[in-house]
């Protein structure tokens, strides 16, 4: 029986044999074998893509959850839904990979040399962000400049 199923996925059966096999397999509850043979066939023929849009889902999930080097907390409002039991694991590995890459661009967590704060060190964005969200002064509230990258 299993041999016949294998032949079916390899397109090696005649029409009358296919009908016979389908009737017999449905009677014998061969669903598990059926699924395995489909999977093996796809892998051997290099057609296995995983679940629909798996890669896109992982990329979207990473995109929506920026790397947080300070620690991982529980996100209760995340809008991404689990569509497969596999991809949370894959997403975790991918996130760790992104963290690794990001960490290469960031300072160590060890104490490092620091310099004394000077007026020139204060980014304009910092002051603007403060004024646009914490000012009682109308003039500065309006003036906070537009920064396309910050949106």
């Amino acid at each position: 029986m299993n041999e016949k199923l294998s032949s079916l996925f390899d397109n090696e059966l005649e029409s009358h044999e296919i009908d016979d096999l389908l009737i017999r397999s449905s009677k014998q509850k061969k669903k598990n074998h059926w699924t395995y043979y489909q999977l093996i066939r796809d892998v051997i023929q290099n057609n296995h893509l995983g679940s629909d849009g798996l890669t896109k889902n992982i990329i979207d999930a990473i995109e929506k959850e920026p790397t947080q080097l300070g620690g991982f907390g529980r996100h209760e409002n995340t809008t991404v839904e689990n569509k497969s039991k596999h991809w949370p694991i894959a997403a975790s590995f991918a996130a760790l990979f992104v963290i690794g890459l990001t960490a290469l661009n960031l300072s160590d967590f060890r104490p490092i040399d620091s310099s004394v704060l000077a007026e020139a060190d204060i980014p304009t964005d910092l002051i603007n962000d403060h004024y646009s969200s914490a000012s009682s002064n109308v003039n500065f509230f309006i003036q906070a400049t537009y920064n396309k990258n910050s949106i």
């Binding site: 661009n105 962000d129 914490a134």
Partner: protein, 316 residues
Amino acid sequence: MIFRLLLVFFLFSSISITHSNDDPWSIIDKATNATKFLDYKGVFHSQHYEEIKSIEITHATNNDQEFIKLNVLDGSPGEVLSQGKTIYVYNTVDNNVIIQKRKQQRLFPAIFPDNTEGLKNFYRLSVGKSERIAGRISQLVVLAPIDNFRYFHYFWLDKKTFLPLKMVVVDQAENIIEQASFTQINMTKDKNLDWFRPEVDPSKNYIFDDKIVGQDIVKNRFWAMQKIPPGYKEVDFISKRIPGLNILSHQLVFSDGLSYVSLFVKPISRGQKPKVGHVNLGANNICARYQNGYQIMAVGSVPLITCNTFSESIKF
């Protein structure tokens, strides 16, 4: 010197008002209501440190909803249109008009918080003499801090309506940090809202940005706040992406009801030297600290001790 003399006078007058009025703080509640429910149009000067601008304001309440239009009259044009809880800023930058949706803020003359209970614990209220502001008789009210974590606030409230006509914020050394004062104001009765629309300049490019900064980002607090200055509470928390890197910087906003401090938490890039210490930039104090790969900066028109305490208060 003049503020010191005024302060002595107010301390004495505060005693008399305690006897004559059960709750002297009710005058602040009346001022809060006046800023919400009165219909008026006027022009005020707004000064922050050394910069002064004239601003026109039109305010109306229609069907229990506030309509406010603010228009900067000097220099680069800028407008604010606020309806209920929706607020848009029209900011002219070169040949572009950037229209941005923002979170609502307490802007002059509506500077008092809805709940004044918090102020009572950290400011001492006293009432001063009457003065004429923008052609109207006003009552001077002083909120003097009980500690060193906030500045003195002087308010001149319209005697008839309680609307704040003038506000001056001074530090412990009596330097003026910020002030705003009406130069003309008229109460209006016309309920027509035709004025509630932006000035359109066809020669400009209009860029509409309907997204409040950081609105769609999942926020994750990985720190604890310890020993923040008394009376200050967190009023906002904004996270946004650092351009070019898929990581976040954070801004926490704290207020005691009158003063505001922003606390920025930002990862340090490799090769970038973290900053420590403090500087005074105009009316703002800025205090920097480094911890665990993060640059922490407190910014605000608050005393240096408040700024330093905030920058030291965050622990990972």
